[in-house]
């Protein structure tokens, strides 16, 4: 297992980036030069030079649908000290939200990120609320320094799938 805490994956959890339905991924208020793929996609997200930045103001609304039903265990958000996100609200299975109705529904979970989290330490979520997730909406409400622009370097989601058995998991168990 990796020695660095920031890249450790909980036992039994899988990086859900493989199950994201890329054709329907949306991000509101992203800057055209720094888009969501920089933070979410494999390869891009590990490059610290590439990041997702907000445009008109500091809020971001990210909609991530999955190709199958998943259980979400934890999420790791990496960002710079000042412009990285602070208050993050997560909504499960709410399609096509807009900035106007983020406050209409209570979030499935709400997280305030610390500077440790911003270095990559995953935040463990209320697992019971995320048992049956088809799509995830991430609302970044403000950032650490109160700046006009929020910057996110990496978003990684960890969990398990519901329907199919993950082959990676099988192999791990065999090793034991």
């Amino acid at each position: 297992m990796a020695s660095v805490a920031s890249s450790a994956i909980q036992r039994g959890q899988v990086d859900l980036v493989d199950f994201v339905d890329w054709s329907s991924v949306e991000c509101l208020n992203q800057s055209s030069t720094h888009s969501l793929a920089n933070a979410l996609k494999q390869g891009y997200r590990d490059d610290d030079g590439l990041h997702l930045a907000s445009d008109a103001d500091e809020q971001l609304l990210i909609y991530i649908p999955f190709m199958q039903v998943v259980k979400l265990h934890s999420v790791a958000i990496k960002g710079p000290e000042e412009e990285g996100p602070r208050t993050v609200k997560l909504f499960s299975n709410k399609e096509h939200m807009g900035f106007s109705n983020v406050n209409d529904y209570p979030p499935s979970d709400s997280v305030v990120l610390s500077s440790e989290n911003l270095k990559g330490k995953p935040v463990i979520l209320k697992y019971v609320k995320f048992q049956n997730v088809r799509s995830l909406t991430i609302f970044i409400e403000d950032n650490q320094g109160g700046n006009d622009i929020s910057i996110v370097q990496k978003i990684a989601l960890f969990g398990t799938t519901v329907d199919t058995t993950n082959m990676k998991d099988l192999k791990k168990i065999e090793e034991h």
């Binding site: 055209s32 008109a56 809020q59």
Partner: protein, 394 residues
Amino acid sequence: MVLEATMICIDNSEWMRNGDYSPSRFQAQSDAVNLICGAKTQSNPENTVGVLTMGGKGVRVLVTPTSDLGKILACMHGLEVGGEANLTAAIQVAQLALKHRQNKKQQQRIIVFVGSPIKYDKKMLEAIGRKLKKNSVALDIVDFGESDDGKPEKLEALITAVNNNDSSHIVHVPPGSNAVSDVLISTPIFTGDGEGGSSFAAAAAAAAAGGMSGFDFGVDPNVDPELALALRVSMEEERARQEAAAKKAAEEAAKQEKGEEASSSRDAAMAEADQGSSLSADDKKHQLTDDEAALLEQALAMSVDNTKSGSGAIADSDMSDATGNDQDLAFALQMSVQDATQSDMSKVLEDQSFVSSILNSLPGVDPNDPSVKDLLASLQQKKEENKPEDEGDK
């Protein structure tokens, strides 16, 4: 061909009664709206368009975004002019209508016709613009009608606040006889950022602008393709005929002035480039005899432009000298044209070796090229035909 849901905001306030656009501002606006609806639905069949009015008693949505063009045009009927236009409320309502569109994959766009003065300040407009940008809604503004101080600047500020990657545009239409729709047709609002809609725009331009179509012969190829084609073909035939006639006349004239060298080189070039011309030379000559001196001079001038071979340049200067000495020479040329048969040319062509040496000197001509060889053979044949004809004439 972008998949789009559009909300059009119509200004039906009191200011639209004004007649500075014919027949009235409101009518001009309606025409423009009809055109835009048509263009949008044509460029992508899944596009939807909705309409709302800004004036009257308050902002009222006439039709929610739909792809049914008939419904949209029908709702434009019977609209009344009055009240004041509420721009901010209208944009917010439009945004809401777009948010609840049925196909979430459509891009959101609002088109606003602003014909009355704006009572809001720049800051408020910029805030609205930022909100639109945040929700990735594009905005097009048609600024016409009233132009009080500050209105264009306010609208420009709004567009800059909304604009994301040049997806939002603003068009200022000055008052005058130009209909609002005509001005709009060439703008990105109509053509959808350069793609799609342009064929519709071209057809609409032809229809709306009547004779001012700007096509070659005043005939729209879309409307009447056969006529346009016939006109074009006959124009080209006439041009070809005149060119050949000019070349022939030029050749004759050069022979009178210089010697055989220039004309034969021109001749070879002519034979090279225009294989059928020698055959029809007879016809041409007869036609020329009927023309007046002025036409002959014009033909000479044209032939001066049409030179091809290097040594033709020498013939050029001779030509211009020739035409310079004009009247007498023209008369002489005419007479020579009347007298001469093919004899002059054939004498030159008889000398096969002379012709081939000329061909060698011409750039880009390969004497071993089979087509050139065929040409030489045919020329020889013609020479033999002409010989008995010459004997007959003389």
